[in-house]
């Protein structure tokens, strides 16, 4: 089977764009990625589009309606916050299968402000605040408190994740916020769902990102310069666990996915130079250090205390600013983190460059649940 390569990457600066629509934002990112690769829409054989909140809106076709209706195969993907990673993986699969040589994956989302959560009131009464909470900050707080229960992880340690990622975003011109948030500010900002304060919740923003994937045959034709090889692409769902009915388990599916990714690539956690992981809430990030094997069990708190996961540390995590500060446009997130890691592997990440980065890992979780992991490698 052919290897799959990333030849074009780009994303719009994340922010709020009420005057534009989803297809226009997606079209911008698509054209930027095409320009990065030096190709035109006429070279593209298939489009995989990730968008969650207009999942029935044929967003991929609408993007082509903006930039070129060439009549190619279009697949629209929705998989909660793993939507972008799912679109990328479907594009990867199509090249792996030998069906296509040049494929575009686009992730795009326009978000409202405010709380994410589900409350479908049928014939009864609303259950939110009656049978506990189904808001995202509370669900991820409960996951974090499980870690506190096991290992004594503190509110302060969770808050430090936000300090780190907000700091990282000051070096990323594509990030929504680019403001440092000292620990006191994080801990004293409005409490949303203990232990997650407002500054420990990801930013609801609009965004779009796109990646151009090609086959080995096409990369030979284009030349190897600035290429990134996809070493592993894995998607898992949540296996049964005892509390899964009421407490989504974001750990086991991540562990299963990364195990498969490490096995498929022959790469281990010690080989990884940087990670973009799913910090939808500060509480989640610490769990994922352990889930991805970046440290031993129960060492997540120490990792943040000792700065091992900060830029310049042993294994920098979310140097883009992460979902907490770069922003989290649901369908774009899984593509944007592939753009970020690829930029580092190319040596094009400017002030936040992880020096000498050769191998990187991306991780997203869609609650409900889906986990997408990609391992990317610089082509020498």
């Amino acid at each position: 089977m052919t290897d799959v390569y990333i030849k074009g990457i780009d994303m719009i600066k994340f922010g709020r764009f009420p005057a534009e629509n989803v297809s226009q934002l997606g079209a911008k990112a698509a054209l930027m990625a095409l320009d990065d690769a030096g190709l035109s829409i006429k070279d593209i054989q298939a489009l995989y589009c990730g968008n969650l909140q207009q999942a029935n809106g044929m967003v991929g076709q609408r993007i082509l309606g903006e930039i070129g209706q060439t009549g190619i195969s279009v697949v629209n993907c929705a998989n909660a916050c793993a939507t972008g990673a799912t679109a990328f993986r479907e594009a990867w699969l199509s090249i792996k299968a030998g069906v296509f040589d040049v494929v575009l994956a686009v992730g795009v989302e326009q978000m409202g402000k405010g709380l994410l959560g589900t409350e479908r009131v049928g014939s009864g009464i609303p259950k939110e605040g009656l049978l506990g909470s189904n808001t995202m900050p509370a669900i991820f707080a409960e996951a974090g408190m499980e870690h506190s229960r096991k290992y004594g992880t503190t509110f302060k340690q969770f808050a430090k994740v936000s300090v780190k990622n907000h700091y990282h975003s000051t070096m990323n011109p594509k990030a929504m916020y680019r403001i440092e948030t000292p620990l006191e500010d994080v801990m004293n900002s409005e409490m949303i769902a203990y232990p997650n304060t407002k500054l420990m919740c990801s930013a609801n923003v609009d965004g779009a990102a796109a990646v151009l994937l090609v086959s080995e045959k096409k990369v030979r034709e284009m030349g190897p310069g600035r290429s990134v090889r996809v070493k592993a692409s894995v998607l898992t769902s949540d296996p049964f666990t005892d509390r899964n009915q009421v407490m989504p388990d974001i750990n086991l599916l991540s562990r299963n996915a990364v195990k498969q990714a490490y096995e498929a690539s022959g790469i281990g956690p010690r080989d990884i130079d940087l990670v973009e992981l799913h910090d939808c809430f500060a509480t989640a990030e610490i769990l994922h250090y352990e889930n991805l094997g970046l440290c031993g069990e129960g060492e997540g708190g120490r990792m943040i205390d000792e700065g091992e996961v900060a830029l310049g540390g042993r294994i920098p995590v979310n140097v883009s600013g992460g979902l907490l500060s770069k922003g989290h446009p649901l369908g774009a997130t899984g593509i944007a983190n592939i753009c970020e890691v690829s930029a580092h592997l190319r040596g094009e990440a400017d002030r936040r460059q992880v020096i000498g980065a050769r191998i990187g890992l991306t991780h997203v979780i869609g609650l409900g649940s889906a986990c997408g992991i990609h391992i990317l490698e610089k082509v020498r």
């Binding site: 939110e128 605040g129 049978l131 769902a193």
Partner: protein, 141 residues
């Protein structure tokens, strides 16, 4: 306004007609796993149609929680969203009441009991009242 019997907040809250409410679950006859409410098939072992109804325990212990300060409009805050492991099996989520909503007042593993009461005054479109379940620190020994 409907002054007749209040309705159960979930279909698996039973016994209101005899004024002796309890929570009902179902247990897989193949792998013994316990779910709240009815099930057709088992998502743990894949067994088909092999469930028996059981009465869930009215005692349990706190597994995890969050203190919720920001919720949907109209929801009273703060409140404690609690994940509770029931004695004899099964895990359910609900509000933990009669505890100060502060981290220092909440202990992992604290013994809790299931209690029943009016669903915080919430009524459906037809004006029906509802009975909900809640957790509180155990008083029964």
């Amino acid at each position: 306004m409907n002054e007749t019997l209040a309705l159960p907040v979930v279909s698996w809250l039973k016994g209101l007609e005899t004024n002796s409410p309890y929570l009902e679950g179902s247990q897989c006859c193949v792998c013994d796993v316990i779910f709240s409410g009815d099930r057709l098939h088992c998502s743990r072992c894949g067994a088909r149609g092999k469930f028996k109804s059981i009465r869930l325990a009215s005692e349990g212990s706190l597994y995890s929680y969050s203190i919720v300060y920001r919720s949907f409009p109209g929801v009273d805050v703060p409140y404690i969203s609690a994940i509770v492991d029931l004695d004899m099996g099964g895990t359910i989520k609900g509000n933990l009441i009669n505890v100060d909503p502060k981290p220092e007042s909440i202990e992992f593993g604290m013994k809790l009991e299931v209690v029943f009461g009016d669903a915080l005054g919430r009524k459906d479109k037809a004006g029906n009242s509802y009975i909900s379940y809640f957790f509180q620190p155990a008083t029964r020994s």
